[in-house]
């Protein structure tokens, strides 16, 4: 399954960071307007600015809450086939809190897993090299 993983460390205690994710008014200030409640099964929406990838509304449902440790919800745009899952893991460190974000479940039309294509094609080393070269070239042009 395709997975996007991002890690960031913030120099604040885990309870402070946790609140920024779970208090709707704080969440609104750095993320998007929302009616989030940290309760499993709670359905909520994020409202943001529409762009070419979505219409500005995400329909979400909380699937896991472990105070100060883990928060997970499903997220769905206008294309009902494309539910993805977003999981935040909070790791308390001496100097702050590490947040690990994982966004999984990217699907194509008809529930086709994106990973199936890329793994099938990408397993061919030749293709990987070509694709890498191409993307590198493209980035240089931009």
């Amino acid at each position: 399954m395709s997975k996007l993983r991002i890690e960031v460390t913030y120099p604040y205690p885990v309870s402070t960071v946790w609140q920024a994710f779970t208090d709707p008014s704080q969440l609104k200030q750095w993320h998007m307007d929302n009616n989030f409640i940290p309760k499993v099964g709670h359905k909520f929406q994020f409202h943001g600015t529409a762009n070419r990838y979505w219409d500005g509304i995400l329909n979400c449902e909380v699937i896991e809450v472990i105070d100060n440790k883990k928060l997970s919800y499903t997220s769905c745009g206008y294309d009902k086939d494309s539910i993805t899952t977003i999981t935040y893991t909070f790791v308390s460190l001496k100097k702050g809190t590490k947040v690990i974000l994982e966004h999984t479940g990217f699907k194509g039309v008809g529930g086709m897993m994106l990973s199936k294509i890329i793994v099938a094609l990408g397993s061919q080393i030749l293709l990987r090299i070509r694709l890498k070269k191409y993307l590198k070239k493209y980035r240089e042009q931009v």
Partner: protein, 121 residues
Amino acid sequence: MTPLNAEKIFRAIAHPIRREILIRLAGGEKTASDLAEPHKVSFAAISQQLSGLKESGLVSERRDGRSRIYRLRPEGLKPVTDWLEYFEKMWASKLNDLGNFLDKKHGNKLRKRKIHVKTSY
């Protein structure tokens, strides 16, 4: 949430024969009859799948004398990689905003922070 041009590619590869054609072309360029061989399907049927793949931008065609030779265009996958890249950038920017939000809220100077992004397929 999939953009239109990425959907085109997903549709193109939704068919198992088309997927196999792509995988075989990843090993190097081939003619339609090379591709028809292991499938026990008609040349015409393969041609039809190839024209769908050409339309999606995943395959290109060139003539060499009498035969047409097909080649994979890995850059045709770009709408899909762009789509994932959009999420990478969006999250990196959001998590940076979160850092700025926390710094401001606690009356600290805005700090620079490292953001590690990794996408696995």
